[in-house]
């Protein structure tokens, strides 16, 4: 943990760059002005509210209950790790929170917005503007360079090329990947790609980040580097992180562990000692 803290302090200077005075184009298209209905979001402490969420898949003629009444509130600044055996419904829950998969029953409140009460386009825009996403495997637009790929959420949100690229460069700089800006994404190692993927998730200053086993395909060293980086941003910028992982070695990065088994929450641990103990148990 000390090592992580040191890294966080060292990265403080870099992170400060994110909070520099915005450029004129930033001001003209600030989130508040761009998306006025969500100005109130910072007033709530609960970033994600999961109420009685159920999900049933239909396999041929059989119905399989994947989520059986999930209730969790994720608070601002928390680093929540969603853990559990394969098939317990972690990823499904993550996709429901991210607005990609509809729940069979229940409500998902993100920053007090019932995201499944809105249209598909609304959710698309909401994801783009407020949620950072790091998938297990970095997905790229093959024809674009690293910096252009990082700028993609900006393009999607309607921002211009120049503005999005400027933001992308700044983001790559703070994750330490600016030297690779003009490479093709597939020329990078797995670890580097996930760092760039993290940079892409940060582009539009998200309210929280969803990560679906981001270190699943990485070697141990790259995994640690990425986790350090995510933790650094979680603590310095108070960005809420919701991560699915199988790796018990990573529990010490979390401020809260939610354990799932067979579509239900078995444990919700916020006690630091208990969390550390989990690692030793593993």
């Amino acid at each position: 943990m000390d090592e992580i803290k040191n890294k966080i302090e060292a990265g403080g200077e870099r992170i400060a760059k994110m909070n520099e005075a915005p450029t004129q184009s930033d001001e003209s298209k600030s989130d508040a002005g761009f998306f006025p209905e969500f100005e109130h979001h910072s007033n709530t402490d609960i970033v994600v509210g999961i109420k009685d969420v159920e999900k049933t898949f239909v396999l041929g003629t059989n119905k399989v209950d994947i989520l059986k009444g999930i209730n969790v509130d994720i608070k601002r600044g928390e680093f929540v790790m969603l853990m559990g055996p394969s098939g317990c419904g972690k990823s499904t829950l993550l996709h429901i929170i991210y607005g990609l998969e509809a729940p069979t029953n229940g409500t998902i409140l993100v920053e007090d917005e019932d995201i499944w009460a809105h249209s598909k386009n609304w959710r698309a825009y909401f994801r783009n503007q407020f949620i950072g996403f790091i998938p297990q495997q970095a997905f790229w637009i093959k024809s674009l360079s690293v910096i252009e790929n990082v700028a993609v959420p900006g393009f999607i949100g309607g921002r211009g090329y120049r503005e999005s690229i400027e933001r992308a460069y700044k983001t790559l700089e703070i994750v330490g990947m600016k030297d690779w800006a003009h490479y093709r994404p597939f020329d990078l190692s797995g670890g580097q790609q996930q760092k760039v993927s993290f940079a892409r998730s940060l582009l539009l200053n998200p309210k929280f980040i969803i990560a679906d086993e981001p270190t699943g395909n990485l070697d141990q060293k790259s995994g640690v580097q990425l986790m350090d980086l995510i933790k650094e941003f979680n603590e310095s910028l108070n960005i809420t992180v919701l991560m699915v992982t199988h790796n018990p070695d990573q529990v010490n990065y979390a401020s809260r562990i939610v354990k799932m088994v067979d579509g239900k929450i078995m444990d919700d641990i916020i006690d630091k000692e208990q969390i550390n103990a989990m690692k030793h148990e593993a």
Binding site: W116, A117, F126
Partner: protein
């Protein structure tokens, strides 16, 4: 697990988002007031990404664009030559025959009508007629010294000659309606012993003229009037026949010729052309006009064009299949890209636009290259023919022509091709579910 997102029934059926919304929020759903601000990806960025995607599959893009260019090129090549030849033939035909003139003659023996003064006045009174000029023709003989030869004698006016585009004024020729001078064909001048036809101008010749009831109503029987003298005032070039033009008035005064076999009727208003023609036919005249010939030429070229268009449609269908194949392969290869773009917030419609635009870029670039390639090739072929013609002593002109309508039609077709071939892959891409696309192997 490999999911087939193109089939309607997947092994694992995901509840549709629309279904969820309908069940849970049919009444309470808030109004989407911010929708207007959700502009999605700007057009320039969609165009940029589409262009970059085409550049990534360079070989495939070049081949597909080449296919379109080849199709459009062949069509442009053939049609530009077709249009050009049509224009050249029509221009050649109308050069010596004004389009507003109806030729009339007195027809066959069953339905005989002569152009007497009365008949000419009746024709002039037809609505839409501007002018009527007539020409009488009969046989005769020309004598100059020892030389004598049989000829056709035409009695006419200078206006008729102008309408016939007979050029006798070069080299000092003249023709007077009221005078007593004659124009002779250059062939006749040669037969009379003038190796240079123009040497005949100013020479006095003797002519015999055969008269009949057909041309002179006062005659009861045919007769020949001998030893009439006249001065040659001009030469008609490039003639294969031996003939002489004499003023109608002189023939009338001297020999009592008062009717003619054929004439030319000038129509003042082309809208009344058919009506005038019909009335002339009702009077018993046999009519003909260059407009009919031009209509025939146009009809012929229209038929040729129909074949070319059918041929072009076949070629373009092959190009379209190539485009469809390229876009479908591109869609399969980019499934994950579409997945991540959708996950990051891309609207369905933006994905649709991206694929449609790619298709339009392929079609448009191919169309542009094909059009200029085909047109350039036609010009080159034309140039080669002109050079070859020159060597063989034939003078050819440029006949490649592309009408504005054809350019617009090609532009419209290229756009149509882009949209029609892009719609299916674009629709499929837009329909892909983000999660299924990300899981796609």
């Amino acid at each position: 697990m490999k999911l087939n997102f193109f089939s309607k029934k997947n092994d694992v059926s995901l509840e549709s988002e629309a279904g969820y919304e309908k069940r849970h929020h049919a009444v309470s759903r808030p109004k989407e007031t911010w929708k207007e601000t959700h502009t999605g990806i700007s057009f320039s960025m969609i165009a940029y990404i589409s262009w970059k995607n085409l550049k990534v599959g360079k070989a495939r893009s070049i081949l597909t664009i080449g296919g379109v260019a080849l199709g459009i090129g062949i069509i442009t090549f053939l049609l530009s030559i077709g249009f050009g030849m049509q224009q050249m033939i029509v221009s050649e035909v109308t050069k010596n025959n004004p389009i507003d003139v109806i030729d009339i003659n007195n027809g066959n023996l069953d339905n005989f009508v002569s152009l007497t003064d009365d008949v000419v006045n009746k024709v002039k009174n037809i609505d839409g007629v501007k002018k009527v000029e007539r020409r009488v023709n009969t046989g005769g003989k020309i004598i100059l010294g020892e030389s004598q030869t049989d000829v056709i004698i035409y009695g006419t006016t200078s206006d008729y000659l102008d309408m016939l585009r007979v050029n006798y004024r070069d080299n000092g020729g003249s023709f007077s309606n009221d005078g007593e001078t004659a124009l002779i064909s250059d062939r006749l001048a040669n037969l009379l012993g003038f190796s240079n036809p123009y040497d005949a101008i100013g020479k006095k010749i003797v002519y015999n003229i055969a008269l009949s009831k057909e041309v002179s109503s006062s005659l009861d029987a045919e007769k020949v009037t001998d030893n009439n003298e006249i001065i040659i005032s001009g030469i008609v070039n490039n003639s294969d026949n031996t003939y002489i033009y004499l003023p109608t008035k002189m023939l009338q005064d001297k020999f009592g010729i008062d009717s003619a076999q054929d004439g030319k009727v000038v129509v003042a208003d082309m809208a009344k052309f058919d009506n005038v023609k019909q009335q002339l036919e009702q009077m018993g005249f046999v009519t003909s006009s260059i407009a009919e010939l031009i209509a025939g030429i146009n009809s012929f070229f229209s038929t040729v064009r129909v074949f070319l268009v059918v041929f072009g449609v076949i070629i373009m269908s092959i190009s379209a299949m190539g485009m469809l194949n390229t876009l479908s392969v591109s869609l399969l290869q980019r499934t994950k890209e579409i997945g991540i773009m959708k996950a990051l917030g891309t609207k369905r419609y933006d994905v649709f636009k991206m694929f449609i635009l790619e298709s339009i870029i392929i079609s448009f670039v191919g169309g542009l290259l094909g059009f200029f390639g085909g047109y350039g090739l036609a010009l080159l072929a034309n140039k080669v023919l002109i050079i070859l013609g020159k060597r063989m002593g034939t003078e050819l002109s440029y006949f490649v022509y592309v009408p504005t309508g054809f350019v617009l039609a090609i532009g419209g077709f290229v756009l149509f091709l882009g949209i029609i071939t892009g719609v299916m892959p674009a629709f499929r891409a837009a329909k892909i579910h983000a999660l299924e696309a990300l899981r796609y192997e």
